[in-house]
Subunit: 349 residues, 2 copies
Amino acid sequence: MSTTTSTSSGPFSAESYFATQPPPPTLEHDIDGVRAFLSRQAGKGRKVVLVTSGGTTVPLELNVVRFLDNFSAGTRGATSAEYFLQAGYAVIFMHRQFSLQPFSRHYSHSTNPFLDFLEIIGNDPTIGVTPSKKAHLLEILSAYKSVQNEGILHTLTFVTVNDYLWLLRAVSQELSTMKRKALYYLAAAVSDFFLPRRKMFEHKIQSGKGNLSIEMDQVPKILKPMVEEWSRDGYIVSFKLETDQTLLIPKARAALERYGHQVVIGNDLNRRKFEVVFISRKLPATPNAEGDRKAAGGEPDSGQASSTSVATWLRLDPQAVEQGKEIEEDIVAELVKRHQRWIEEESEI
Amino acid sequence: MSTTTSTSSGPFSAESYFATQPPPPTLEHDIDGVRAFLSRQAGKGRKVVLVTSGGTTVPLELNVVRFLDNFSAGTRGATSAEYFLQAGYAVIFMHRQFSLQPFSRHYSHSTNPFLDFLEIIGNDPTIGVTPSKKAHLLEILSAYKSVQNEGILHTLTFVTVNDYLWLLRAVSQELSTMKRKALYYLAAAVSDFFLPRRKMFEHKIQSGKGNLSIEMDQVPKILKPMVEEWSRDGYIVSFKLETDQTLLIPKARAALERYGHQVVIGNDLNRRKFEVVFISRKLPATPNAEGDRKAAGGEPDSGQASSTSVATWLRLDPQAVEQGKEIEEDIVAELVKRHQRWIEEESEI
């Protein structure tokens, strides 16, 4: 297993990608829905966040049986979406099919999502909730029904990395009409590699013929056209997940410098529930910038500071996490503040 | 992308696989649970079926982010498990984490598994079920609670193909103590390829270094030692999923001839909800064998009959499927009959 630098025809650019790979059949229908949603939110003057969540697949066969996948239950995205809704945002939740979703996440992915806390009562039987579970369920259910009544959550699903790329581009282009009121929270775990259509097997790969060799191309770096073309005024937050701690800050910083967006949130696979780092551009030394650096009780990691960016750690006490505190609450609170400043800056210009 | 016949050290046998790949850390604990479950079922004289369900993953990294996966929601296994329970079997349900499960399958993998059919009622609020959903939920819930009270469903989970192989071997060895009363219903979608431990990346594969090349080894054919060593008296049913219809019967037949077990159920990816084919050994021309060939209204596919095996089709009217009829009901009914004959044959010997 290896990575190689030899490619037959050079790496795909975003442009050559969209010119050669087919759009998902549901794209137009999905975008009609997004357009209607956005026009309702604009009418109410709401800020809108696009939350992407869950992993993408890379099918190896046209009649799909086998695919490459990324590990992601979608916890970060589903949890954050709830806190954005609480903070008054309208949310476009664009997630991998069957990954966790806001509200239902509290009961999915467990052994028996909900049958275990329902009871059959009486002879002319009715269905009731186990008393010890009632208060928690009532809280979740109330929040869910209120979000439904207000119509502030719009859900889109993707499966493959190709679905994701086409959908992200089209949604970003729509969302750019909201200008600075748009926030992009790109928490999906997107594959770095894909198999171009012309290289895919038509039918299920047959075993019994020896080993399997797969050579995949690099997915184009989509943040570049996103920042420069699709959503020029939006506040864009991307994530960097690593398993090697020493790579976390350098890789996050490199992404920020390369794409020129607003924030990269770095997280280590094994520490992501209680520790993340915000990497953002160093601002001129105004009181505002100083406030930024001390946000959320974090200290800039001066040991790894660079001349162009600043690192702000958000950390939770592991005990607090055990008691149910979610780091997404603090991540979202911090971003809501930064996004608000970004909106206000515009009116100052 | 290709399959190659060149291997550095020859293909893995089941023996060399288990000698070189590490067991999952939870194996012993899992098997203790199976042993206790089986001893309770044996005490009650129950027949026991092992149902495997869902896809397996092949991790590419030790600190797992990326993996190869097989498409499978686990519908076949979860649905069949319910019908086996209805037929009086005790069920060991060995499934991929987060794949569908008996009972909860009716409400999982939908947009909002259950929040949508709960309601908040009154000022001192209680939680109730939407009236139109009540009858169906009551039926599922009653069946679920009764299975729980009887203690006839035991659930095990796996994620990787390595978890699956170790677990299957250990569970089969335990289940073999039930002799002919044991049925093996191997519906999981198991990867044909894997990445041996020594070839895995330690950390997340870094992109930005060109294309990705993966060369995977073949998973050993586990049915062979299963039939010959681990579960010699059991009634073993395996599945063959194809996307190319013309390969369905030849591949299913080849599997039966190669491993010498009892039934291969062939299914096409796009027709599997309303059509499957049972491939079994041709029996001597007794009235019993004749009954076998005409089972469940199916006709042997004489066009493709061979001298050693017989093909029995099970087909549903697509309209019946739309109205909620599940082909697993017929598959299980047919297998229960065949398994019963298998048990009775023993007492005749």
